[in-house]
Amino acid sequence: MNIKNKIKITVNGKQMQIIPKFTLKSLITKLKMPLNKIAIELNKKIIDKNRISKIQLKKGDKIEIVHFIGGG
């Protein structure tokens, strides 16, 4: 894959490069995130976890992946 074809996205504030037609599901798999323990936001909209295989990421997309941590 030519580097020019790569797409820049931001995941949890960090820049990442992906290939075109990369889905949100592929991203979650690549990051080894357990789906039942996270929530996903794409450009500030919450994504239904059942639909992630149908969502192709685009240039400039901002993804937030959150989970529970200790808190009071």
Partner: protein, 257 residues
Amino acid sequence: MFDKKFKIANKNFKSRLIVGTGKYKSFKECANAIKASGADIVTVAVRRVNISDKNKARLMDYIDPKKITYLPNTAGCFNAEDAIRTLRLAREIGGWKLVKLEVLGDKKNLFPEMIETLRSTELLTKEGFKVMVYCNDDPLMAKRLENSGAVAIMPLAAPIGSGLGIQNKVNIKIIRKQTKLPLIIDAGLGQASDANVAMELGCDGVLINTAIAKAKNPIQMAEAMKFAVISGRKSFLSGRIKPSLFGSASTSNIGII
């Protein structure tokens, strides 16, 4: 004396002690403290996953949400929009609707921003959330929260993490008299006697994090808090004697030699 069940948003809970899961040295210590406390509700926060360390341990690996009720909070939120965004995400993780709303107004004293808190309570309630609200100890504000759909009123005892204990018992008593909602002291307790006092004032429960997590022996302190809450509740229900300035001998003078 018969005690009614500890019920929040129509769900019964066994323990009147709710514990936070922050500030522990490890998830293991946190899990052990929860066990020792007997709590069946724990507060949790929503934060970004660390994507560069995929194998990092997660809270959910140590505290099973099927056995312990997770109460997602909005720690670190300073306005209604952030709070709502956070709780929508929490709901998405696993369907949680019972939430702890905490909208702060000042980074130093961590007091709640009550105008935003009130607005958030209304909006979240409309969305179907069951909102337990961290608030100041103002009876008028507590009433407004109740009218906005809050399922529990959670006034502070003192600033979060301060360990100062209940600073305004009068206000807590007034809020107790005016509301039938669960009244839970949230924030500022420092030791078991503080939890005991809260329960003796008639509160339905207490929420404690720092006083347990930062104690030298968190597991033992968790247990101390458990007994303090039970003892305070029983003391409240038993009806204390009237305080008097003068002595009243416990031993009869009849038959004195």
